[in-house]
Symmetry: C3
Amino acid sequence: MKPRAALPPTAFTLPSKYYTDPAVHERELELFFRRMWVCVGRFDELPDRGSFIMRHVAGDSLFIVRTSAPGEPAAVNAFHNLCRHRGTQLCRDERGRFQGSIQCEYHAWTYDLNGTLIGAPHMEGSAHFRKEDFPLLRAGASVWDGFIHVCVTDTGTTLEQQLADLPRKFGPWQMGELRRGDGITYDIAANWKLIIQNFSECLHCPNLHPALNKLSHYLSGENEPLHPTYMGGRMDLNEGVETMSMDGSCPRSFLPGLSAVERRGVYYYALFPNLLISAHPDYVMAHTLWPLGPGRTRLVCEWHFHPDELARPDFTANAVREFWDMTNRQDWHVCELAQAGISSRAYRPGPYSNREDLLYAFDRFIVETLGD
Amino acid sequence: MKPRAALPPTAFTLPSKYYTDPAVHERELELFFRRMWVCVGRFDELPDRGSFIMRHVAGDSLFIVRTSAPGEPAAVNAFHNLCRHRGTQLCRDERGRFQGSIQCEYHAWTYDLNGTLIGAPHMEGSAHFRKEDFPLLRAGASVWDGFIHVCVTDTGTTLEQQLADLPRKFGPWQMGELRRGDGITYDIAANWKLIIQNFSECLHCPNLHPALNKLSHYLSGENEPLHPTYMGGRMDLNEGVETMSMDGSCPRSFLPGLSAVERRGVYYYALFPNLLISAHPDYVMAHTLWPLGPGRTRLVCEWHFHPDELARPDFTANAVREFWDMTNRQDWHVCELAQAGISSRAYRPGPYSNREDLLYAFDRFIVETLGD
Amino acid sequence: MKPRAALPPTAFTLPSKYYTDPAVHERELELFFRRMWVCVGRFDELPDRGSFIMRHVAGDSLFIVRTSAPGEPAAVNAFHNLCRHRGTQLCRDERGRFQGSIQCEYHAWTYDLNGTLIGAPHMEGSAHFRKEDFPLLRAGASVWDGFIHVCVTDTGTTLEQQLADLPRKFGPWQMGELRRGDGITYDIAANWKLIIQNFSECLHCPNLHPALNKLSHYLSGENEPLHPTYMGGRMDLNEGVETMSMDGSCPRSFLPGLSAVERRGVYYYALFPNLLISAHPDYVMAHTLWPLGPGRTRLVCEWHFHPDELARPDFTANAVREFWDMTNRQDWHVCELAQAGISSRAYRPGPYSNREDLLYAFDRFIVETLGD
């Protein structure tokens, strides 16, 4: 354990408006959730050409449709969920498959999988009407190592630029090969940033997570300094512990690309704005955050395994699911207590300790991005 | 089928604010629901002198009380549901009968059926108090062919003036004689205008209503041009079809006053702001619309039959109810999809076809009445 | 029954904004519920040193903790429910007991029962940090005759000053000795002031409370003039009636300190802003009011008895509970009707009778305190 550099005496938590004010929240949605690439799911949710998933991103209803056939490189389009005729939503299912084209139920306007309008009944009498003027409204869509990302507002920044050196860092885990083994969705009465802050320090671990603290000591971690679009670090597994699970044992092979060092730790990275990756020796846990309001966040937690392990007849994610579900619930509980306290009229900012340096840096990033 | 005149290239649907903005909605309530006559029910809901129904009209709680004895001409009063003493609501029941007078539960102030204050305990000590200064607050109330209408804000326009030539048009159906046979109430997650627009075009019929399209072809209709307070037209029944019901057969006599032509069609009229009449050869369907917010409308659908038919021991409205309930639900489904899509940040107005001419005219009427 | 002095011709009920406008309500919370002492419960809810109750006062979450050991004089502290580190709520339980200190679940900051910070892990590396700068945030707390009061905003006024001569008036009932025998919590769809007004006149009794009116005639009451912080008066028990209960009989001894006159009446006092005391010959009923919005109030009704009576094996509060629950529900019903009517667009103020003089005075007090 190394001592941390001293934070300035002004290193206090943020004023309450950053967690409670609908106007600040709306600006955060605009700047972080519409102008950045957000993770909306995994490519293995789309088994075939025409398969789609529906997502609500910062108030927009979008569907993401797979355009590549099985065996071809991952390719997806993302469209706003509305017909260009009278605005009717095209789809209400959370997932499904379009059979070659996308047809509106109301008046049968029809689009191909690239969003081009190919049928518009009764418009032939309108001399000025041209089908090419009314394609589906498109959002950016791209896939990195199996993680599908969309970007509602085109700012010229590509997903690759936003990810910076993360693809290289996460290369050894070969996450594009992994497949979903299990998942849980949580509805948390807390601001999305409180969840990222909770994810980014382990000072609370001895008090709140005694089981976790037995597997990985809370002071073993070392953080990287804050990067423009992510932050994170590593914690060591205690001696005799093989992975994070109920008893610390690992009934699976380690992921094939990992070094000896990578097999002895867990790598926790928060990719702004909404993807939290916890890379273990034998699986990857990914949280995606979906703000539903200043004080409410939906969180999808999924565990991704190597397909060889998933194919084994005795495969089970139970020990992993049980351990992390218990730990998650402890975390959401204190996030909700923090949201409630910060929402109080009496709340005033409090002092960060030097080991909460990433949180202070994250707060600075938020404030500066909002232009405050 | 006649070709329709070409709409201008600017004939697009309305911006989203007309369907989502609470301020626009409030102005619509004021201009269309408080300053126009709105239909609140049927006179046959009031069996006797003193019978009342309670209604919420654009945020006002009103009760409508019958003042005429059985056998006398229809006569009703409409009052705001509050006592002039301390503002207490006089009634919470949806329907019932006042026994000669209306008494407040709180301090027993008492009014006659014309709203005159006739009892005010303990006010005798107040020298300046005069009962005649505190009658119930009244709204306009009038009955046309069995349809009770109220007008919250007196603009000087009578119900007769608002109805224009409709009483003459609907004369043959003798709707005042008809009695309610059945009804269904729907709660629809869509703006009231989307429901009127859906009612006013049948382009969506082949795709959405295959059963209806077998009874009455979607291109058989002919519309009248928009009138200041209503719009509508006729659709023909297909050969061999007698009325709109599950199998197209009609086990009832046709209404006695209809011509041969009237027996071969259905007349669909939208009476602004909230009454949709569908006059069939043997019954009349009436929808009343009750906006509950920009994106939510309660709709009461009722079927009215000739009393001779209702009196027959084998009378049943089932085939009519089943057909229209199925068709209604298909319509409310797409109205809700339209509301959801139009509410999206991504929505932008789309082009009307020439066969959506009534909708475009209706939109112009809305925009002009709002003074936009 | 004495005639009342005539009210001026301008003595009308208040405009609707005082019952419906969120901005007025917020000002009322500030001026009446944060700057005055409010009653939050009874000292006998705190059996031991460290026992606490949690309360929400006008949007603030507070806990009140007992600091005196059994046998010592009543002593309590009130603290805002949040940690000075990152704002986390310290407690979610409605009641419980702290074992000597108060520890935050998140990062284990620890306070003693006086709110002093005594533990702050990992802050030792911050040279500028001093524990004494971060005590729990305190509200005023004081106990009168068993009634715990808190004051969120210190205005310099003590509880004793606010109570004025009430401790002397209520001296004979020795309320500090009484213990809770039973209680009911109500959720009422009405503004808090309508409940105080309802409590402060009995003109509605013959019409609304026929059972009560048999025990205590509605015109038997005599009010004191309005005092700056309370109002109230007395009503006589009818001949043969011993106390307010289902049959008017009293199976208990009268409270030991009462005079013959006090044993023949009930004393109804509204202590602004939120405590309504009804002192009977053998028990005290206390309502506390908790505004949840302009149109919604939670009301806690409790009956307090002499401990000698509570200790009797055949003690029961049933006849008292049954009588007052019936009467309470009649009152809340008309309060809700009044709220609904006053919330109507059509509402306009109505005239008070001379026997509603306290209500008119109360309205003046409200308007003047708000500075309108």
